[in-house]
């Protein structure tokens, strides 16, 4: 094998005093080879991002490496003077980030931001720099390079922004590209394109890539070599084939086992009576147009129709902007649809006023995506759980007793009722969110991306819990997700949405076996690691 272009030896990174552990990274050995992609996989808190930052010399203040070396071109990056390290960055080692919107300066054109890297590291003239930028835009397949160069970040789509970031990172042909979750914030079809682009470019330029991710699907898609990390320590390292198909460490096996399979689960039948009939639902967002202006309308949901039986789970699948969250919010009537019916067990909720709606509010409840933002940080868990029921007239004592029951039902110690939300982990918070919805004794549960902010192992637990609860209470569930793997495991039937329109609907197994609409096919083709997943099951 070739010599590694980046060689991390025994790296330890200390966290500031008072952190939950002493070392963010402990005794890490890791190698990146030219023209190869090394994936560092781990859940949140595994130290994978700090490893990437250490290689860039961009550790946050008060976080410092305590021992080890990061060898690059015969020199230890950790011992370089700040200015020497600065000259390395952008020129020899460059980086792309998770969220291209915030990673770009909002007040500077994209062209100018890339130009900056050239003015800092080279003595090229204005014309040569411009030509170089436009040529590279062409290489990262940005349409109309001149327009992109003159555009501000907010004028580009998410995928275009990430392409521009990649162009920025690769413009000086660095030896190493550090990619920190570069596709996590992107839609699945865009993610597939960006992954392909990274793989193509790194092969062409013989760049060594250190690719940080939490997603085994992405890993399966592009990795040559995989390192699995947990709690700052290296669990296992090996070739992609070896780790993905014959993992040795228990932790790796568990992680891979938690990745939902793409084979839909066995179809269920014998649901109860019809709970929910949505017919011709339309929602517009109007904006602008104060006193004299003309308002502009955005058609967020067009003629959406579906039905849901008691005990059944409907998946609403789509990318950002597809209108799936709009539909969810209409169902719980956080939004008022302009047209259409939302028939809940014989009562039409769509046109009701707030007052008329009050007695029915509790029957449709929502679980939100972000377990951090959806719980009031200043209220104790017990208060969060009893607020709804007391509002509906339940005696306080009864509501409190019920809250504690619910907490044990969602797998938490009833004693935690006296604590505040920030004391819980993401998965625990999502359990509280679930308990909050259940406290109102709903018949229909609307879950908007309930597991997409969670680590994969936690995700599996929460999905299992939701399944148990659905079973126990005979709930009907509307499950909004962008993740087809999750949809395959959770939903009895799915609808696929694109730009506000339902393009495909059917039993989960049927849609997965033979998608009929072009867009659905594109979605399926974009699922990262689909070939690996359809390979014979790994024995975990």
């Amino acid at each position: 094998m070739e010599n590694p272009v980046l060689d991390v030896r025994g790296l330890s990174i200390a966290l500031p005093k008072g952190a939950d552990r002493t070392f963010a990274v402990e005794g890490l050995d890791l190698q990146v080879f030219p023209g190869k992609i090394t994936c560092v996989v781990g859940e949140s808190g595994s130290g994978k991002s700090l490893t990437a930052r250490a290689a860039m010399g961009l550790l946050p203040p008060k976080v410092a490496p305590t021992s080890g070396q990061i060898m690059f071109e015969g020199r230890d990056l950790l011992t370089l003077k700040p200015d020497e390290m600065r000259q390395m960055r952008g020129q020899k080692i460059s980086m792309i980030f998770q969220e291209p919107m915030t990673a770009l300066n909002p007040l500077m054109t994209v062209g100018k931001q890339i130009d900056e890297i050239l003015t800092v590291h080279t003595s090229l003239g204005g014309k040569a720099r411009r030509e170089k930028i436009l040529a590279l835009f062409d290489e990262v397949k940005l349409p109309n390079p001149k327009r992109i160069a003159a555009a501000y970040p907010h004028e580009l789509s998410g995928g275009q922004r990430q392409r521009a970031m990649i162009a920025m990172a690769l413009i000086l042909d660095p030896k190493i590209l550090v990619a920190d979750e570069p596709t996590t914030a992107l839609d699945v079809t865009t993610q597939a394109q960006i992954l392909k682009l990274i793989a193509e470019l790194q092969e062409k330029h013989k760049t060594g890539v250190l690719f940080i991710t939490h997603d085994f699907g992405v890993v399966a898609e592009i990795a040559d070599q995989i390192a699995v990390m947990q709690y700052g320590k290296l669990v296992e390292v090996g070739t992609a084939d070896q780790i993905l198909n014959a993992p040795k460490a228990e932790y790796t096996k568990a992680l891979i086992g938690a990745v939902p399979s793409l084979t839909p689960r066995a179809a269920r039948s014998g649901f109860g009576r019809r709970m929910l009939t949505v017919d011709g639902l339309n929602k517009y967002y109007k904006s602008g147009g104060g006193l004299f202006g003309k308002p502009t309308a955005f058609h967020a949901a067009k003629d959406v129709s579906f039905t849901l039986d008691r005990g059944e789970t409907l998946g609403v699948v789509g990318e950002s902007g597809s209108g799936k969250t709009t539909v969810a919010r209409c169902l719980v009537r956080l939004l008022q649809p302009e047209e259409g019916k939302i028939d809940l067990d014989g009562i039409d909720l769509a046109g009701m006023t707030k007052r008329e709606l009050k007695p029915y509010r509790n029957r449709v409840q929502m679980v939100f995506q972000d377990p951090y933002a959806s719980l009031n940080p200043r209220r104790k868990v017990a208060d969060i759980l009893v607020e709804g029921p007391i509002n509906l007239g339940k005696p306080a004592k009864e509501a409190h007793a019920r809250a504690r029951e619910l907490l044990s039902l969602v797998g938490l110690d009833p004693k935690v009722a006296e604590r505040y939300p920030h004391e819980f982990s993401g998965g625990q918070r999502q359990r509280i969110g679930l308990a909050r919805a259940l406290a109102l004794e709903p018949e229909v549960l609307v879950a908007d991306e309930p597991v997409s902010a969670l680590d994969v192992s936690v995700q599996a637990q929460v999905l299992k819990l939701m399944d148990e609860i659905r079973e126990k209470f005979g709930l009907s569930v509307v499950f909004i997700t962008h993740d087809l793997r999750v949809a395959a495991q959770v939903c009895d039937k799915i609808i696929v949405m694109q730009r506000g329109v339902v393009v495909e609907a059917g039993k989960t197994a049927d849609v997965f076996a033979a998608p009929s609409h072009d867009y659905t096919r594109e979605l399926f083709a974009s699922i990262p690691g689909r070939e690996w997943s359809s390979a014979p099951e790994v024995t975990a």
Binding site: L58, M88, R89, G90, F97, L104, I117
Partner: protein
Amino acid sequence: MPNARLRYVARRIVQAIPILLAIVVLNFCLLKLAPGDAVDVLAGEAGSATPEYMAELRAKFGLDQPLPVQLVRYVGQIATGDFGYSFRHEMPVWDLIVDRLGPTAILMVTTIVLAVGVGVLLGLLAAVNLNTWKDSVISILALVSYATPLFWVGLMLIVVFSINLGWFPTSGMENVAAFYEGWDRVWDIAHHLVLPAITLSLFYLALYTRLMRASMLEQAGMDYVTTARAKGVKEGRITFKHILRNALLPVLTMAGVQVSAMIGGSVIVETVFGWPGLGQLAFESLFARDLNLLLGIFFLSAVLVLVVNLLVDILYTFLDPRIEL
């Protein structure tokens, strides 16, 4: 784009008309709530006015009409650009205001430039030298200036710099007896301007210093700053090319809102320093119950606030490409 901007300005001007009308009506009603009118004051000063004479004066000024009639008449006047007549000064209100507008404009513009300019500079300096003695000195000075009342600062500056040291004149806008011409006059006015401008700007300067410091620190933690570091850009360039412009936006917003508050502050400062501006005029006319004059000044202030807000909004579109008109 320029076309869109023009259309936006036109729309804002049209929108301003009902706002101004509401302000006129509100001001009128508020002032009429206070007891006493110009005739009371005139009669009181003259000493021996009979009730018949007072009634005659009221009839002459139109103050004997019922309030709604007076209001409608006044609004009609304003609509035709007539600000009425100041019986106190025996001059049209418009002439009086125009006379005083110049000095107030000089004071306001100097104050704003001083407060925003120096405030931004000090905030920048404090943020760049975070947690060093420079930062501490600037932060403490800002805190002290922020907490000191305006009039007291004015009086102390007069005591120290005018009376004890004799560096600056105690009051007025220029040395009238000297009959300066050209640059000599400019210099003379500038000399008179120093103390009132410092007094009026000190509070806002402190505010913008603190705001700018906080804004710089907030922006320094943003992702795009990390990106700039990852590109190998030098720290100095990151501060000036990336952080500074982003950090300026909240300061600008705040300054735009506060221009109106400064007009209020200028009443005190103009009185303390004998600066012949609108604030002083408003103060005098309030005690003389010269409501026509007072209403004229209020109306002009309202127009000023609307214009400044419009200017700030337009300036914003140049500084922040994300804002659309």
